[in-house]
């Protein structure tokens, strides 16, 4: 059976995947970038389902440095920097996975602007996004049948 890695800071994606996708995929779950990398290094994985916003994650679990981000992008405003890192965490995790050599199809459930989507594909290859938890559409995207 194919294997799917769900990466999120809660359990909503995993619950969705177990209920609607488990006939097609064995489901693995990671809540931090480091756990996702360990999972990918531990055995073959066919696809990734990634949450975008990690607003419930501990700051220490986030990819990205809040202080450096605040200075670089937000004139030293630490709160805005933290929100920015949380809001974009799924993409930051994907960047880490790609940098480590993992190129599996990655699916977000989020409505990216077309220009952003083009850029994500240019940077990270097989990236797909769907606006809602539509299990049939998610399955097509994960399996490459879209």
């Amino acid at each position: 059976m194919k294997r799917l890695l769900v990466i999120e800071d809660g359990n909503e994606y995993a619950e969705f995947a177990r209920l609607f996708l488990s006939a097609h995929f064995h489901i693995e779950v990671a809540q931090r970038s480091v756990d996702a990398l360990a999972c990918l290094r531990g055995g073959p994985m066919d696809a990734l389902l990634i949450d975008l916003r990690f607003d419930r994650a501990q700051e220490t679990d986030l990819v990205g440095d809040v202080k450096a981000t605040a200075e670089r992008l937000f004139g030293g405003d630490r709160d805005r920097a933290l929100r920015h890192l949380q809001d974009q965490q799924g993409v930051l995790i994907l960047a880490e996975l790609r940098a480590a050599g993992f190129g599996q199809r990655a699916v977000f459930i989020h409505e990216f602007l077309p220009r952003r989507m083009e850029n994500l594909r240019r940077l990270y290859g097989l990236v797909f996004a769907l606006p809602s938890f539509d299990s049939a559409a998610v399955l097509r995207a994960l399996e490459g049948a879209d």
Partner: protein, 134 residues
């Protein structure tokens, strides 16, 4: 308030409320409500990432202070979430017609919040928060 903050708030509503409220509703075909689906719908509506969907909505876009509350899509989503909030006893009892009605309303909430996010991307705030001096 920065326009980018308003866009961020609308995007957070679509992501944290709209998408999750419809998580089960979007996948129930022909009214086949298994216990797993009923429980997941109940979590979508009343334990959405740790709070009720209506609470999450009002936390992210309070009626009295959020510039998003001036948009018609905000009102649509708000009124539907009020209805859904009141349906809890019937949904917990597994009343199928109410489950069907709730699923339909949840999809409408998702649509309204996607429309709101889209509108926020292309327009400025339409009003000052209530209580703001002229």
């Amino acid at each position: 308030m920065f326009r980018s903050e308003i866009r961020r708030m609308a995007s957070a509503l679509a992501h944290d409320v709209g998408k999750y409220v419809a998580r089960t509703a979007r996948n129930v075909s022909d009214g086949a409500w298994t216990p797993e689906l009923v429980n997941m719908l109940l979590r979508d509506l009343y334990d959405l990432r740790g709070e009720r969907a209506l609470q999450a909505f009002l936390r992210l876009a309070p009626a009295a202070t959020s510039p998003l509350a001036g948009f018609p899509e905000w009102t649509t989503a708000h009124d539907l979430l009020l209805e859904l909030d009141a349906m809890e006893p019937e949904l917990r009892a597994g009343h199928v017609p109410t489950l069907q009605r709730a699923a339909l309303s949840a999809l409408k909430v998702e649509g309204a919040l996607q429309d709101l996010a889209q509108r926020a991307r292309v327009s400025a705030p339409v009003r000052k928060p209530r209580g703001t001096p002229p």
